[in-house]
């Protein structure tokens, strides 16, 4: 079964075509990363899958149970942390499920805190707990680590991978960070000129970063995003030295 099926999705703002007859399938429990330049329609695609943006052309099929982690935590500052996590849950399940989810992201003792007292990384973990507490079949991550510092981001990557292994939702991660995409996803797709331009299977790659194919994949992705003048620009050279 596929969690997501998109056929011929087109979206234009005025004369600017953002998504051009785009096709995409995401299998159940598959972790897909979507990279692309900023303004390239990544977030539009994610918002369409979330049901936040309308579909005017083409068809989109997604599970009813889905949740989003936005770029910003988007916590309600006037609700305590656990109340934010349990937002929209049936009353009887709120307390227990919220504290379970908070324990999973390592914030069990912040349940009673006000969101404004949290650090950026903690707030984003609460947002993650809020997304996972309803056991979604599709988890949509819209550059959720973009605003975090490098150390916090490393922690978040490990946490997301661990949570994905435990809950097995299908995931679409939108990012402009090629390394993040390669590290987390089973498959990386590149959105260019409104279409899915390239797909890279990374399932076996991230286990061994010294695998020359990892550097090749990284260089190819960076090349597709227009970064060609770095030391990784020549994938064959890297491959040669490692071989």
């Amino acid at each position: 079964m596929d969690a997501v099926t998109v056929r011929g999705l087109r979206r234009a703002f005025g004369s600017h075509v953002v998504l051009d007859r785009l096709d995409l399938t995401i299998a159940d429990s598959e972790f897909v990363a979507l990279v692309g330049r900023s303004g390239g329609g990544k977030t539009t695609l994610l918002r369409t899958l979330a049901g936040l943006d309308p579909v005017s052309e083409g068809s989109v099929e997604v599970p009813a149970l889905r949740s989003v982690v936005f770029q910003e935590p988007r916590l309600l500052p006037w609700r305590r942390v656990w109340q934010n996590v349990s937002l929209g849950l049936p009353r009887s399940r709120r307390r227990t499920e919220a504290s379970q989810a908070l324990a999973e992201v390592g914030l069990a003792d912040h349940a009673q805190a006000w969101p404004l007292t949290l650090s950026g990384g903690e707030a984003q973990r609460v947002a993650l707990a809020r997304a996972l507490v309803r056991e979604p079949e599709l988890l949509l991550l819209d550059e959720p680590f973009g605003a975090l510092d490098a150390l916090t981001r490393i922690h978040m990557h490990a946490l997301v991978r661990q949570l994905h292994e435990r809950h097995r939702p299908a995931v679409l991660l939108v990012t402009h960070d090629v390394d993040e995409a390669l590290e987390l996803a089973d498959r990386v797709i590149v959105l260019r000129d409104g279409r899915l331009d390239e797909e890279i299977e990374t399932r076996e790659l991230f286990d061994d970063r010294r695998d020359p194919r990892f550097e090749q994949a990284r260089a190819r992705l960076l090349g597709l995003l227009g970064v060609t003048d770095t030391h990784v620009a020549d994938p064959t050279a890297v491959a040669d030295t490692r071989a």
Binding site: L52, F70, P77, W78, R79, L87, W114, L116
Partner: protein, 337 residues
Amino acid sequence: MGDPGAVATVTQPEDAAPGTPPAAVPANDTVTTADAVPAADAVPANDAVPANDAVPATVPRAAVGSPAAARGRRVTFSAGGADRRRRLWVPSLVRRAIVPILLVGLWQLGSSSSWWSTEVLPAPWDVAHEFVTLWNNGQLPSNLWVSVRRALTGAAIGIAVGLSLGVAVGLWRPVEEALDATLQMLRTIPFLVILPLFILWFGVDETPKILIITIGTALPMYINTMSGVRTVDPRLLEMGRQFGLNRLRLIATVVLPGAMPSILTGVRYSLGLSWLALVVAEQINAQKGLGLLIYNAQSLFQTKILMVVVVVYAALGLITDVVVRIAERRLLAWRGR
């Protein structure tokens, strides 16, 4: 170390001897800590001031002026600065009460030394005495109760109406288009001038009195609620919808709390205006109430009673303010102190 008091915590490169012009201080990267001020020089400086004062978190005067003067100087910040110790601690309530108490004292002084006739402005002591008399003979409590009930009834209706209108107009464009212009127009009418009309339409009993208070309180409530609702972060609304909140829950959990700071400002204005509207409403054919008390006292030139009522109004205003402040502290606790 020319000025031991002021620069006790500042260590400078020894080149910056007393009297050396600031511009002559060399670039500090050439001065190592080994060249630090000799102990013999530092000791008298420290003896000149109490030990505790050696750690104020203040920037010495010389360092404030030009960057050149500050170059190479070092400033120490540490706990328990002089600032905290030197100021006598006074409870907030006392600090707030000082000015009112002084004013009353002045008032009493002026009355006792006959700066003005007590016929015009009776002394605070006499006003207090009159207050007790009126309270004991039952005139004040019964009239006060009637007035408070009127004001609160009118304000409650007005606040409810203003709140609902503000939320509806703030959230939904068609409602805004239908109502906002009209309400803004009504707002520019000084609402008290409608009172004579109300009396013609509704007679002289309770209805026009409560209605005028309702209108007076509904409008500020409407304006503040609407602007508060407009400032609610649309990203939070989107998040709420995404997590399955229906329209009512969205209003209860996102819109109203988000608009709460403005709403409370509206409540404060409204309650304040409700007392004002009350005074005017009660000038006309009141059988009971503070307004009647004023009316009678005025016609009999009883300035003491007039002053008692003025003081009562002031107290009512103060009480409402305190109540709203307490509500604010509870409802806005999430903002932190």
